[in-house]
């Protein structure tokens, strides 16, 4: 029976009762409780069922190392699974429920797995579900996934807010215990900018729990004074409830601050991820206690000695009237003493070591507690999920029961492991310390900085393996000196005064007893969370998994949410013992981030909802949105109207309407996203001659020329119209998707290859809004706006001129991508929307319609104009597209010239550009459909001789039109090809790619 004592509890406020719910049951605790302590206060020691065998599980520990106490917080669709009850601070209205059981926590049908456990050894699914093969996917895997696993996923979006925060500081101290605080104080006093993070709500770590004297006052009081000093220190920032969970390259450290988790407010900031680049880091993360491995050591009521002590001193929780303490090191004595001082019974302390007389042993004796040396627990006797007694045996024997002691609670301590996770994540190595009986940071192999220096990360205190308080403080002062050196600080480092302790060395086995027999090994747990037993490790070894990394993967030891905080070292010790090797020969598995689980919300930060991903918007975007824009996301992250939907209209109908309107009267199009790169300098012409396949240097001022760009391999990468502005300046238009890439491409060549050419480029894409007015009535419409000199003589096709349009200074390009009379009007981007509105208003009498990207595509396809990304896919040359006329034969060189001469690109069998007309006018011919050839290819597959690259319904021709690439296509005009489509074969005739107005009369209408 666990209960709340009437006195004590340094963390709770008894005046504030807090109500909460567990598995639908109303319970209450006090402000300052953790969910774990509040559950114990309500005698709820059964918290969940284990992963594989569905064994009943209770709390083992009191902090982030807890493997069993996983609960789901919240109810309904907005739940969060797998949260540790030990890390949840109690708040009014908290709702939590247990996991991994059916139908109820107390009565779980899955528990039959425990009875069948001998058929479910490590790696059983590698062996059991081999035949039939397909059954794995449809039967076995779904079945196993249903039976195993932790928690359930939430079904609703998380409504909480998250954010990131970047800091650059001199010193990051991880862990607010006495070691970390001592280093922080020294460094801050010497002038360093210090950030201290502490994962728990309270400062002081173990020292504040365990009594002791520092500088002549109570240790907890000493910590409080230091905290007050640091809190008012200008150079210091302190974050509690903040876990540094990952160390990455270039001394990049991540921490999760739980801003509101202890008092959630709907819609408020919940968690903040700190992204830190400290010059120096002190890992003062303490140590983690290890359990002992004996039969039925996973029964609720068996807890770590430190856990029982924490619950007692922090929350005034008694885990039972009678607690037996089984230990192999000094620390567990403190639990016995704390229990005795609280008036609880400690029937016996089982110290598996030989008789000793350390300071603590003596203090325990003085309290009248019985100690049995050389003894340990062989098993617990339980009924109805409660411990009734423990069976006691000799440590060195095989487990014969010497006698049995009645108790309700069992405290175990199998030694302490320095919490060196961050050290290891940062590539620091660990070494086995025989005297400590633990892996500790190897100071000779510390984490490296990106510059190869190795003095940026240090461990201090228990994290270094210095467990007793006097050693912790010695180590902290040593580390402070190292930090001073690294940060070039000078100042005094004062070592706080503490009494020297006489400590006895721990024993280095976790098996209890040492000769534990086969049957007991199959019920002795190593990893509580993943249900790995001693016998599983035996099996792994038997099957040849000698390396710890292999055995980990085979048995799942140390996996899941706790990442083996309690189990890793015990597992390694057991394997070393079985193999008959020394621990110094065993290498621990590498720790990887995160130290404790991190929410996906915190990783995403503010990148969610409307801030999930930036989409670039033109100045006219708002008008589009108000006028029915059906959006499309286009290259370089722009959003553009695909078409404008009118009431009840389907997309296809809108596209037809828009395309027809351009052919019949006039349309208006926002082409602002088109890339516009200014290229200027004495060598600009020469430079563009190298970049484009055609000749640009000869372009007269005031004229425009269509150009193609290829990469060195000769494949098309971009196209667009180049305008000559003056003697030394050109404006190069690129595709929407190509604006940034082509600008980078230009700079690459200018900076790396032709660095001495006098050319500067400027990406002016966003400086200008660009409005296309296209259609037979385009000139008439612009005339309404009093624009002078835009007649065919003053502004012929493929020329540009600066023109005043009302109040706007514009530059008008007479180019056309629709085949219609067309003007592209460029003006400063911030004025774009206003001019658009004026043109649209003036265009009403011509039934002007805005048109989107899809109508633009239909119009260009009707004219047989190619589109980068449709007709090209990175393997297509200008010659493939019949654009030989745009490739200069006279120029000595240009990018792609040599590539295009390679035999594979000049081969007569290249697939070439053609128009495709379906035999049945309205048949659908999807993009990507392959044309079937005769016979089989060398692999025995049907031969394909071409593919569809673009396909549209042409409203003006009222039929399907398509463009494609076909082997020897231009020579086979008139042939009918069969295309394979999902809907069956479709026949299409090879025709000219120019479907509409081949004479170009519309262009000069």
């Amino acid at each position: 029976m666990s209960t709340r004592l009437v006195e004590g509890g340094r963390c709770i406020d008894r005046r504030q009762v807090v109500k909460f719910q567990f598995n639908g049951k109303q319970m209450s605790g006090f402000a300052g409780d953790s969910l774990a302590s509040a559950l114990l206060a309500n005698d709820q020691h059964l918290i969940g069922r284990s992963f594989k065998y569905h064994r009943p599980r209770g709390l083992v520990a009191s902090g982030p190392e807890e493997p069993n106490g996983l609960v789901t917080v919240g109810e309904g669709p907005s739940i969060e699974p797998n949260r540790q009850a030990t890390m949840i601070e109690l708040y009014e209205g908290l709702t939590a429920s247990s996991q991994n059981h059916f139908p109820s926590l107390e009565w779980d049908v899955g528990a039959v797995a425990d009875l069948a456990s001998r058929f479910l050894p490590a790696g059983f699914y590698y062996k059991s579900f081999m035949r039939p093969r397909r059954a794995w996917e449809f039967l076995f895997e779904p079945m196993i996934r249903r039976a195993a696993g932790l928690g359930r996923l939430p079904r609703h979006q998380d409504e909480s807010i998250y954010e990131h925060f970047y800091v650059h500081i001199d010193l990051l101290v991880v862990g607010g215990g006495v070691a970390g605080l001592t280093v922080a104080k020294a460094a801050a006093d010497a002038g360093a900018r210090v950030l201290i993070v502490e994962q728990m709500p309270h400062w002081g770590g173990r020292t504040s729990v365990d009594s002791g004297m520092i500088d002549g006052i109570d240790a907890a009081e000493w910590v409080n004074q230091l905290i007050d000093e640091l809190a008012s220190h200008q150079q210091v920032s302190m974050l509690n409830r903040t876990t540094a969970f990952g160390v990455y390259d270039h001394s990049y450290v991540l921490a999760l601050e739980r801003v509101e988790d202890h008092a959630p407010i709907s819609g408020a900031l919940r968690q903040r991820m700190w992204r830190m680049r400290p010059k120096c880091m002190v890992i003062a993360t303490g140590a983690i206690e290890r359990p002992l491995c004996f039969q039925d050591n996973d029964r609720p009521g068996v807890m770590l000695a430190s856990g029982i002590r924490d619950y007692l001193k922090n929350f005034a929780i008694s885990t039972g009237d009678r607690t037996v303490v089984a230990l192999n090191n000094d620390d567990g004595y403190k639990t016995a003493m704390a229990l005795a001082k609280a008036g609880l019974e400690v029937p016996v302390i089982l110290d598996s070591r030989r008789p000793n007389d350390g300071d603590l042993t003596q203090q325990v004796r003085d309290l009248g507690i019985k100690i049995e040396f050389g003894r340990t627990v062989s098993s617990v006797n339980q009924s109805k999920g409660r411990i009734r007694s423990v069976r006691i045996c000799s440590q060195v024997g095989e487990g014969a029961t010497l006698h049995e002691v009645d108790c309700e609670s069992l405290a175990v301590s199998g030694g302490w492991s320095p919490s060196a996770h961050l050290w290891s994540q940062g590539s620091g190595k660990l070494i086995w310390d025989e005297a400590l009986s633990a892996f500790r940071p190897d100071l000779k192999r510390p984490p490296l900085q990106d510059d190869g220096s190795h003095n940026w990360a240090f461990t201090a205190g228990a994290a270094s393996g210095c467990l007793p308080l006097d050693q912790t403080l010695d180590d902290a002062c040593d580390v402070a000196r190292a930090v001073f050196k690294r940060l070039a600080l000078s100042g005094k480092i004062v070592r706080p005064e503490v009494e020297r302790e006489k400590a006895e060395p721990p024993a280095s086995t976790c098996l209890s007893p040492s000769g534990i027999k086969k049957k007991a090994r199959a019920k002795a747990w190593v990893d509580f969370q993943n249900d790995v037993k001693v016998s599983d490790l035996d099996l792994a070894l038997q099957e040849g998994y000698m390396s710890s990394e292999h055995a980990k993967r085979y048995t799942t030891l140390g996996m899941a949410t706790d990442q083996g905080k309690l189990s890793n070292v015990n597992g390694l010790m057991i394997m070393a013992e079985s193999r008959g090797v020394e621990m110094s020969e065993v290498s621990p598995t590498t720790f990887r981030p995160p130290y404790t689980p991190v929410t996906l919300g915190a990783i995403a930060g503010d990148a969610r909802g409307s801030l999930f991903k930036p989409y670039r918007k033109t100045n006219i975007d708002e008008w589009h949105d108000k006028n029915g824009a059906y959006w499309e996301r286009v290259g370089a992250d722009w959003r553009r109207p695909f078409c404008y939907l009118k009431d009840g209209e389907k997309v296809r109908e809108a596209v037809d309407r828009e395309a027809l309107r351009v052919r019949q009267t006039v349309g208006i199009f926002d082409s602002s996203s088109l890339g516009k790169i200014w290229v200027s300098g004495p060598d600009a012409g020469r430079f563009l001659d190298m970049l484009y396949t055609g000749v640009m240097s000869t372009l007269p001022i005031g004229r425009c020329r269509y150009g193609l760009m290829c990469n060195e391999n000769g494949f098309l990468i971009d196209d667009g119209v180049v305008a000559r502005i003056d003697e030394t300046s050109f404006l190069c238009h690129t595709t929407t998707g190509g604006s940034d890439y082509i600008h980078g491409w230009m700079e690459d060549w200018l900076q790396c290859e032709w660095w001495n050419w006098k050319v500067y480029t400027a990406n002016l894409t966003e400086q200008f809004a660009q409005i296309v007015v296209a259609g037979p009535e385009a000139r008439k419409l612009l005339g309404k706006l009093n624009i002078s000199d835009i007649d065919a003589a003053s502004l012929p096709f493929m020329s540009w001129a600066d023109r005043q349009v009302g109040a706007f200074k514009t530059r008008i390009f007479r180019v056309s991508f629709s085949g219609e009379l067309s003007f592209e009007i460029a003006l400063p981007a911030d004025q774009g929307a206003e001019l658009w509105r004026q043109i649209y208003a003036a265009g009403q009498e011509f039934d002007i319609e805005p048109y989107g990207t899809e109508a633009l595509h239909v119009l260009r396809a009707e004219k047989g104009f190619v589109m980068i990304g449709e007709e090209t896919d990175g393997t297509v040359t200008p010659q493939d597209l019949g654009l030989d006329w745009a490739v200069s034969k006279k120029k000595n060189d240009f990018l792609g010239k040599r590539g295009q001469k390679r035999p594979c690109l000049t081969h007569s069998d290249r697939w070439k550009f053609v128009g495709l007309e379906t035999v049945e006018a309205r048949a659908k011919l999807p993009v990507g459909a392959l044309a079937l050839g005769v016979g089989l290819d060398s692999h025995g597959f049907s031969k394909s001789i071409g593919r569809v690259t673009s396909s549209y319904h042409s409203p003006i021709l009222n039929r399907t039109i398509a463009l494609g690439l076909v082997e020897n296509g231009p020579q086979r005009r008139g042939d009918i090809l069969q295309f394979s489509t999902e809907a069956g074969p479709v026949n299409a005739r090879i025709v000219s790619p120019v479907f509409y107005d081949p004479e170009g009369t519309q262009l000069n209408a």
């Binding site: 925060f165 970047y166 008012s232 200014w678 480029t761 002016l764 966003e766």
Partner: protein
């Protein structure tokens, strides 16, 4: 830990309208070139990663061969002509980029606000008045600098300005204040 934000300092964000900007690319490492730009623009030439502000104009260092001038919108075309003349003997590029980017003014605990989005160091030690950074804010590329201890300017692409505005509006929320950097001195 610094004191929480005082009432006199409410963080806010505003779009800055009507400023002209010109881009100048030239070999600015040459003394004669930087001096010519400086003389024409009437502002001292900025050092690497810095911005100089003088009588309503600002000149910012953008890269080893580029700087950006801020000036009243109505002076832009005249300044471009002047700049061409000043650099007549040098290979150069001058362009009106007044509409290319959008500027925001943030007032309040600006270091705290910037640090929510930029990986660059904005501590008082490293990011002093006159420093100019081209980095990132949230998911957007951005440039920023401080005009006094409680005011910063942020520059981003025009097409991304609505996104930036929303990001900044959230970052200045008082209930999300981090209070990491020291409280600026109100008398400063």
């Amino acid at each position: 830990m610094p004191e929480p934000i005082s009432d006199w300092l409410k963080s806010s964000v505003q779009r800055v309208e009507g400023r002209g900007m010109i881009m100048i690319r030239a070999e600015i490492s040459k003394k004669s070139v930087s001096a010519a730009i400086s003389n024409s623009f009437n502002v001292g030439f900025p050092k690497k990663c810095q911005i100089v502000s003088q009588s309503g104009r600002e000149l910012a260092w953008m890269s080893t061969d580029e700087c950006l001038g801020f000036l009243p919108l109505e002076s832009v075309s005249k300044e471009i002509d002047n700049m061409h003349q000043a650099l007549a003997d040098e290979h150069h590029l001058v362009a009106d980029v007044s509409a290319l980017r959008v500027e925001f003014a943030v007032v309040g605990r600006v270091r705290d606000i910037l640090a929510k989005g930029t990986p660059s160091d904005v501590s008082p030690k490293n990011f002093t008045l006159g420093e100019f950074r081209r980095s990132r804010i949230g998911q957007l590329s951005a440039a920023f600098w401080m005009t006094d201890e409680v005011s910063a300017r942020i520059l981003c692409r025009r097409s991304e300005s609505a996104f930036m505005h929303e990001w900044l509006a959230r970052a200045v929320q008082p209930d999300q204040a981090v209070n990491f950097f020291p409280v600026p001195d109100p008398m400063h």
